[in-house]
């Protein structure tokens, strides 16, 4: 046996051990990551799943013209100022006839959401013949009563309901006069200060318009910049300078883009505050470096042999780029684009400066309507005092996560399917 073999044999066991250890470190790192993710998800889902259903109560509602103070349901003015809450109160008092005194009645009326009144108005507006009739309706409960029903036995004692209100709720629960159903308002309405009436559709639409503007601007500009820098630009100090700056820009804290947006788009160009157009412009500035860098990497990955072959066959520079390089680099560019978009979707800080952190009830219809975005909605709900908003916050996070996961999966799938290896 030679000396070298001898040496190898001696150290072999040690080297194997070292390799095992090295592998163990890797597994450890991944497990820590997975554990953190698991913790995050269990916490969010554990808190948030309750926001997806809601309780309503069955009440015998009489559309009494006198209590409503409406004699002609076709008169819009009367409809507008109708006293719908009185009708709901009366129905509740008819259900619990023993309740006396102002305080007691107030406590009883507080069980049903104020949304009930708006629903009655809508019903009366759509079918005026209801006036004077009695219907059994399932009406939304107020958030505190809703939370009480959703809580476990042990937690119910600490619910935000008085003892008297708790007895009423238990009575309703035992006689099956309350039922749980899907929380429609969560996906059909804008923001509200009443948790049971708040929804995220406004924020989803706001995010959609913002992303649309961002995508429409940042992808073409980013790809064009990358193609020029990679394929056409001369290699000199000036292009080096540009390259350094693009890399720098990618690391600039996002709030700075917000300040820039405030100064330029709102200050200089006089664009309105809180609109997705300005939000999209600011986020374009933020995602551009990401897209340029990933697009350049994708173009670099196209083997020179392809370019040379195309040139050898007489293709012009532009033909080479448009017909060979771009199609081959596109999967990589799209991946970069999607990751940039996902980043922009989760961004709050720059939007703070341009007024998108706002209470907006109406659903935006376009990029020029005031709107907020999903992460901002999470932030706004997280700082609300009502306990139900804690579950709403987690629900909004779940929706945001779903979008992010979908986008990232799309990026991975696209890469897998379109990727070509040489």
């Amino acid at each position: 046996m030679s000396v070298t073999t001898e040496q190898v044999r001696k150290t072999l066991a040690r080297r194997y051990r070292a390799e095992k250890r090295f592998k163990a470190y890797g597994i450890c790192a991944i497990s820590i990551g997975l554990l953190a993710l698991l913790l995050l998800f269990t916490d969010i889902i554990g808190k948030g799943y309750r926001a997806f259903y809601e309780y309503s109560v069955a009440l015998q509602i009489t559309f009494d013209p006198e209590s409503l103070e409406i004699d002609d349901p076709r008169d819009l003015e009367q409809l507008q100022y109708g006293n719908y809450e009185a009708v709901v109160r009366e129905a509740l008092q008819a259900r619990f006839p023993g309740v006396e005194g102002r305080e007691g009645r107030r406590a009883l009326a507080a069980l049903v959401s104020t949304a009930a009144g708006y629903r009655l108005r809508e019903m009366l507006e759509n079918s005026p013949e209801l006036l004077g009739q009695t219907r059994t309706l399932w009406l939304q409960l107020n958030d505190d009563a809703d939370m009480f029903l959703k809580s476990s036995e042990a937690k119910r004692k600490t619910a935000r309901l008085s003892d008297q209100q708790q007895t009423w709720m238990l009575e309703l629960e035992q006689s099956d006069e309350v039922r749980a159903g899907f929380n429609h308002s969560l996906f059909t309405r804008g923001d509200s200060r009443e948790p049971e009436q708040a929804g995220i559709l406004g924020a989803i639409l706001g995010s959609f318009f913002t992303m649309l503007v961002t995508l429409a601007l940042s992808f073409p500009i980013g790809v064009a910049a990358a193609v020029y820098l990679e394929e056409f630009a001369p290699k000199n100090r000036f292009t080096d300078f540009i390259e350094v700056n693009i890399n720098n820009l990618a690391a600039v804290p996002s709030i700075i883009f917000g300040l820039l947006g405030l100064a330029v788009f709102i200050g200089l160009f006089g664009m309105p505050r809180s609109v997705p157009l300005v939000g999209g412009l600011v986020l374009t500035l933020m995602t551009l470096p990401t897209i340029i860098i990933s697009s350049r990497a994708a173009i670099k990955a196209v083997p020179p042999s392809i370019r040379q072959a195309a040139m050898g066959l007489g293709a012009s520079k532009m033909q080479v780029v448009l017909q060979f390089v771009l199609p081959l680099a596109l999967p990589g560019m799209l991946t970069g684009g999607i990751i940039g978009m996902a980043q922009a979707l989760g961004e709050t800080a720059p939007l703070l400066m341009i007024g998108m952190v706002a209470f907006i009830v109406e659903l935006p219809a376009g990029a020029m309507d005031a709107a907020t975005v999903l992460p901002v909605q999470v932030f706004l709900w997280a700082s609300s005092p009502e306990q139900s908003f804690v579950t709403m916050t987690s629900a909004a996070i779940m929706v945001l996560m779903t979008f992010l996961i979908t986008m990232n999966t799309l990026a991975v799938v696209m890469r897998k399917r379109l990727e070509r290896r040489w």
Binding site: P272, R273, S274, A358, F359, A365, A367, L380, P385
Partner: protein, 349 residues
């Protein structure tokens, strides 16, 4: 490539659907303390009238006034909320930018509470206790008139009547308006009870401020970030910790936390409204008169806000934790709001 064309087209359509500028929605900015109340009014206003729901940005009192005073024109906000009164300097800024006629309306009070978990002990402290427990520098415990770095470790050290637990208070960071009020109303309120410190105010105002409004940084005061819900969660898990936050959070979480009494007075609608509870601040909003009549709905929104149905003793804002002003004050401010009388500048004297 075809898909890209479609996307660009869709974006162009989305952008062109609404013409720019001209605003028909009331734009409100300002304090995050007033935000939970103003939004409730705005929402009701939007639902009950034919006007669109006003847009409310939460920018902080200072930030709101800065935006508000930027000028007259649809790109500037119509109303700003503030958890403190407008300062003279802000009034001057407004004036220099052409915002000359401003109507001031006080909407009620926000109490600042010190609270602990319902599982913790019932506490009753004085502002002086609070000052001694929280300030960076306190009078020497041996009674001489000199300042020493805060030596107190437990509540019992501060006041023998209090339990023997480590002083730990969770509260907002310096950037928060709630922290400013805590410093001014709580810590300074206790500081003033020492006559020689109070006398310092006239001699050396800056030194007085730095002594009476600074919070200790040796770990007994824990900054919890801007989110008051986090403070509540923290209190729930550790019964010996105290927390500082706004009254509405106490009101919404009474099953989890309870208020510490200040000299026997616990914060509630009556004690805060009457001024008996010492830590309360008034909240305001300011209306730009030049926009009334230009942007539809401003006057109607103000009317809704200053209605007893909203800000009264039994109003829906009280349900959200607003502490109403006394009736006569409310009537005065409501008149002010109705007639849109301008601020004269005398308010600052």
């Amino acid at each position: 490539m075809k898909n890209t064309h479609k996307l660009v087209l869709a974006a162009a359509l989305a952008l062109s659907s609404v013409p720019a500028m001209a605003r028909d929605t009331v734009s409100i900015v300002g304090s995050s303390t007033v935000y939970p109340f103003a939004t409730v009014v705005a929402e009701r206003f939007g639902r009950n009238t034919s006007f669109p729901t006003p847009k409310i940005e939460s920018t902080g009192s200072g930030g709101g006034l800065k935006l508000f005073c930027q000028g007259v024109g649809t790109q500037h906000p119509d109303i700003t909320n503030a958890s403190r009164r407008m300062k003279q300097s802000e009034f001057e800024l407004c004036k220099s930018n052409g915002v000359k006629d401003i109507t001031e309306v006080q909407i009620g009070y926000d109490g600042l509470v010190v609270a602990n978990s319902v599982k913790g002990p019932d506490l009753d402290i004085s502002l002086r206790d609070l000052y001694l427990a929280m300030a960076k520098d306190v009078p020497n415990p041996n009674g001489t008139e000199e300042l020493v770095a805060n030596p107190y470790k437990t509540w019992k050290d501060v006041n023998p009547a209090l339990p023997n637990v480590k002083i730990e208070v969770v509260g907002p960071p310096p950037t928060s308006g709630t922290r400013d009020s805590f410093n001014e109303l709580g810590v300074e309120g206790g500081c003033k009870t020492f006559p020689w410190l109070k006398a310092m105010k006239d001699q050396d105002k800056n030194k007085y401020k730095s002594v009476c409004r600074s919070i200790r940084e040796d770990g007994h005061y824990i900054e919890a970030g801007e989110n008051d819900n986090l403070i509540i969660q923290k209190l729930e898990s550790s019964p010996n910790i105290l927390g500082v936050f706004g009254f509405s959070f106490l009101d919404q979480n009474r099953s989890i936390v309870k208020a510490v009494k200040i000299k026997g007075v616990s914060p509630n609608m009556e004690t805060v409204g009457s001024g008996e509870y010492p830590m309360a601040r008034s909240m305001y909003f300011y209306v730009k008169k030049a926009h009334v009549g230009v942007i539809p709905g401003i006057q109607e929104y103000v009317k809704e806000f200053t209605n007893d149905r909203a800000w009264g003793d039994e109003g829906y804002l009280a349900d959200k934790g607003l502490i109403p002003s006394p009736k006569n004050e409310r009537m005065k401010w409501a008149d002010n709001a109705k007639s849109l009388s301008s601020m004269t500048g005398k308010e600052f004297e």
